[in-house]
Amino acid sequence: MTDLVMEARNVYKAYHSKIKKKEADSCGETPKQVVEAVKNVSLQIRKGDIKLIFGPSGSGKSTFLRCMAMLDIPDKGEIYLGAECLTKPGADLNKARARIGFVFQHIYLFRHLTALGNVELALRQVLKLPKEEARKRALAALTEVKVTDCINKYPAQMSGGQAQRVGIARAIARNPDIILLDEPTSALDPELTGEVIDTLRDLAKEGTTMLIVSHEMPFAREVAEEMIFYDEGKIVETGPPSLFFNAPNTDRAKQFMTRIINRTTRE
């Protein structure tokens, strides 16, 4: 039990959309007052684990990941970081988030800072490292994700792939216990996806603990120890990649895998 890095216990999160009837009619969809994005999900991650979540769009994967990092506060259930319960009132969330790396689907670099500034900021402000030390570690992180050529560029001057690798550098620079990655390649053009995947592969080789939302199936097959099929706010099926690529147990997972593999081969 000592090597448990993070745990979610019966996490529940719903969004209460404030769509008024009149406006909802004009959208043409039936109004959903309550969207249950995460319905009592439990998950354990041990040191060195690489788990991969996949599932249909809108099923609540991002919400679950944000709950894990307490960027969204769950309505019910508990989140543990090591032995510390983050959902207990009074938990120091900032301190906890400093130990959790997060990579966003839409990258979210700080737009007023260069690549170096983006990585340095938390090292200086959160870890309170002295200037030279912070710089050294930021450079090391940027070197690790192979974006040394962008060090002094601003986010708007980078390609999507470069920006996302800087985003990964920002997440790994403070040596977090775990990195949560929310579809790190889905906002990128196909030709840029490869470079980010390469970076993730390197991290995997070093034994980084990761929980990744992704639909990059070849990558999943290669690095994931466990794949988690997530649909309608629930974990529907879990198992090793071989299970999903050969014969998933549930029909929904089967259908989803067929669709996604067809799509990948067509591209």
Binding site: N94, R97, F104, H112
Partner: protein
């Protein structure tokens, strides 16, 4: 016609008037910036009561002319409080409070375009809300609003022409004094107008240059969207 320009006494008046105009404007913009930023943060994060109070504040200062506010400050406030207050100080206060009403809007607009994703990104690195505001949101917002400040500076400078009517010696007062002696009415107002024009245009140019230098690549796109 324009000989009065060569008279050192008149030159002194003009410089004195211009200095007051400049001082009140710059202090006003600065006070407005500090107060406006606080109001913007209060409007975004505050409770219902705070939001309501801020809305009333803004409506009062943006809904009525600065000219009237100046008279309120100089006549009404001392009459109610039954004390003598320095007109210079009151003018500075009115310009600052008035500007805050406008700058709150600029800051709030700028912060809202940044807040969503950048706040999440800041929190995700372990920074607190306050740290993220301080190191991520404000540095971006303050750069984005530079052009709005330039506008605010221009309009406040123009408004300082009202100071002459509450007994302060500004550029318009200087003009009146010179005109009263020389009777060169048209030339005097042409000169006074030109001085305002040069000062405002020149200062705007400098602000534009600062904006160009401070501007973050790609960040003005945020403003448009």
């Amino acid at each position: 016609m324009f000989e009065f320009l060569l008279n050192p006494i008149y030159q002194g008046w003009i410089v004195q008037g211009l200095l007051l105009t400049v001082e009140i404007t710059l202090f006003g913009v600065l006070l407005g910036l500090i107060l406006g930023t606080l109001l913007a943060i209060g409007d975004i994060y505050g409770g219902k009561l705070a939001k309501g109070a801020i809305a009333v504040y803004v409506e009062i200062f943006r809904g009525s002319p600065l000219f009237v506010q100046l008279f309120l400050a100089v006549y009404t406030v001392p009459a109610i409080l039954n004390v003598q207050i320095d007109h210079y100080f009151l003018a500075f206060l009115v310009f600052g409070l008035n500007s805050a009403g406008y700058q709150k809007g600029y800051m709030k607009g700028a912060m809202e375009t940044i807040l969503g994703d950048q706040m999440q990104a800041g929190l995700s690195t372990g920074m607190s809300k306050v740290q993220t505001l301080r190191h991520v949101i404000l540095p971006q917002a303050l750069r984005i609003v530079i052009p709005s400040w330039t506008n605010e500076f221009c309009s406040l400078t123009k408004s300082t022409a009202t100071l002459a009517y509450v007994g302060l010696f500004d550029l318009v007062s200087a003009g009146m004094a010179i005109k009263g002696i020389t009777y060169q009415i048209l030339p005097v107002w042409i000169v006074i107008g030109a001085i305002y024009l040069v000062w405002i245009t020149g200062f705007s140019k400098i602000m534009d240059m600062i904006y160009e230098r401070k501007k973050i690549p790609g960040i003005e796109l945020v403003m448009q969207s």
